[in-house]
Symmetry: C2
Subunit: 360 residues, 2 copies
């Protein structure tokens, strides 16, 4: 009905606007799925639990970075397709969280019961409720993965965009799964090998959370190889810094802020760079304390306090802060040297602050 | 380099040729993934286990039906795209099997150790080998699901074909997951409700295994609504018959033929039409026997023999045979009445025999 066909310039990049636009799309999508389930007589708990998980909270890091990559590569005009692709990334992330919590037997996520706990709670009268929750959460994650595809297809990309975008997505998914696989293999047997820990972080987090979302947005804007290379050179160190920050939060963070149980990485025996650094300098007694959980007995609250003291006392915490700042500087240097469009610098600098906090 | 540009007619539909063409594509794909993993230093067990599962054995039912649907709808000329899509269905099926075995704690598949058992066996020295196997198999299934997409994208469908095919695929995936979810909820608490059992069978098997693969092939040939409706009318009863046959094999089959442990459905307390039929006529003692596993104690070999006797004695086995024949006739009637192309009849009749055996 509109008579004005003049294309509007893309509005200023505003992460809050991206978040609300993505949440709106996810809300609409999940409402439609809930209605479909009701019409078919499928159990409502599937979409109920996903709605609670996805719409309840979440920083929408990957959608924001996807749109940032699109803008940084000169994307303008109709934001519809890039927002749909961004929403599909958030649905994919829901898949990753649900299965991650199953594998880690993690009781909470974003401050609420994790998906398997939420499902088990709905069947509390059944003797097999706990197992049912775990098994059903595997299916719930599978559904979120399939639905992330459905959201992606809804973007109706043209053939060239589609080929470029699926190449990025295919790479992202494979990297994440292998990163998680490396993480699984290393869990319960952390070592002083910092490089091994960084390698896990690179695949399960840096590429998945930062590099690939930026690239995905960029290829939707038709970015050339130069821009994509610059975004990788910026995104990888920033992504590593993000995971290192997450390691610190995992060890020292307050559950009311992280949404996860206190010191869960330590309880699970995750091979993080933080722990690897500490193991390099730990005494025999300290080493036993840091790796005690690998004997099958997770540390209690009092031991967690002592472990934290070792992470401080060995200098590991301070060293990881230094590693974060090194990576921040490396990422920001790329913005000065890579010859990205001037507007891109401001967008990506803001993204860096959001991910790892302001520079010290 | 070829100077002959005359399009060749599609060769006669030959399921064995479809199987080998699909296996060739899957072999090439998995070899490339194994090489990529080696180059990146990722653990080889991921592709090793998938190769054993996918290339070792398998009837390739869904790929064969996909190509059958394409031919039945008049598909001719270049078979490349439909074979790639068919291969992606088989990779998707590998995902479904891996996660199904995790959820059922099933030790074997296709006569070999299931994926989680195969992974656990590779880490037999670790105290957490069993849990690692289960968790890693969740990831392995995730990877197979993501890789099924990669194979699908490799078909490089045009925009119209792509939109039609993704609509079918999206539906198939959602139906399967909900079917599996219904199955999970009913496991350990079977009842005399035959309709409920058939409903589970429809979603987790009839639509997924028969209707949707046929439709997927058909839309790749540009099938109109009439052809698609006829394929549904043919595929749904045939798919139900396939699941009923599978229920009989699950209860009475020889593990050397089924590739699964003896009477696994009974041990797991699956709510099948066979069991529902038996519960309708069972005496109190028989009923206790049939549902004893829901008390948490799976039946031993001697009890399995007694349970089988009850399934015979109540007439449930014979009734399910009748249900299969009713559905076969219903499917074949569609072929006579639906006005499909003449060649389609022969193809689909052959598919029916392959799925549920020759008519009695």
């Amino acid at each position: 009905m509109s008579e004005t066909a003049v294309p509007l310039p893309a509005p200023v990049f505003d992460p809050a606007r991206v978040r609300s636009a993505v949440e709106e799309r996810l809300t609409t999508f999940l409402d439609a799925k809930a209605q479909l389930a009701a019409a078919q007589g499928f159990p409502a708990e599937v979409t109920d639990v996903l709605q609670d998980l996805i719409l309840g909270d979440g920083k929408r890091i990957r959608p924001v970075l996807c749109v940032a990559g699109w803008r940084a590569a000169g994307g303008c005009g109709d934001e519809g397709p890039v927002l749909r692709v961004a929403a599909s990334l958030e649905m994919f992330h829901a898949f990753a969280l649900v299965h991650d919590d199953v594998m880690d037997r993690s009781a909470t996520r974003r401050g609420r019961p994790s998906a398997h706990e939420a499902i088990a709670a709905r069947h509390v009268g059944r003797p097999d409720a706990a197992r049912l929750g775990m098994d059903a959460a595997v299916l719930l994650g599978d559904l979120a993965l399939a639905w992330s595809d459905e959201l992606f297809h809804a973007a109706r990309l043209g053939p060239d965009q589609l080929a470029a975008a699926t190449a990025v997505l295919d790479g992202m998914r494979t990297e994440l799964m292998y990163g998680q696989y490396l993480d699984l293999l290393a869990t319960g047997r952390p070592s002083a090998d910092v490089d091994a820990a960084l390698r896990i972080a690179r695949f399960k987090s840096a590429k998945y959370t930062v590099e690939r979302p930026l690239q995905l947005g960029a290829v939707l804007a038709g970015a050339d190889v130069g821009v994509r290379t610059a975004l990788s050179a910026f995104g990888l160190p920033l992504g590593e810094a993000f995971q290192l920050r997450d390691d610190l939060l995992g060890a020292f963070g307050d559950p009311s802020e992280t949404g996860k149980p206190a010191a869960e990485d330590l309880r699970e025996g995750k091979h993080t760079a933080l722990l690897a650094r500490a193991l390099r300098r730990a005494t025999g007694t300290e080493r036993d304390l840091l790796t005690g959980y690998s004997q099958g007995v997770p540390p209690g609250p009092a031991e967690v306090v002592r472990i934290r003291a070792v992470l401080e006392g060995t200098g590991a915490r301070a060293e990881v802060e230094v590693m974060i700042e090194e990576r921040r500087r490396q990422a920001l240097r790329v913005l000065e040297e890579a010859g990205l469009p001037p507007a891109a610098g401001a967008i990506l600098r803001a993204a860096a602050s959001t991910l790892i906090g302001p520079a010290r």
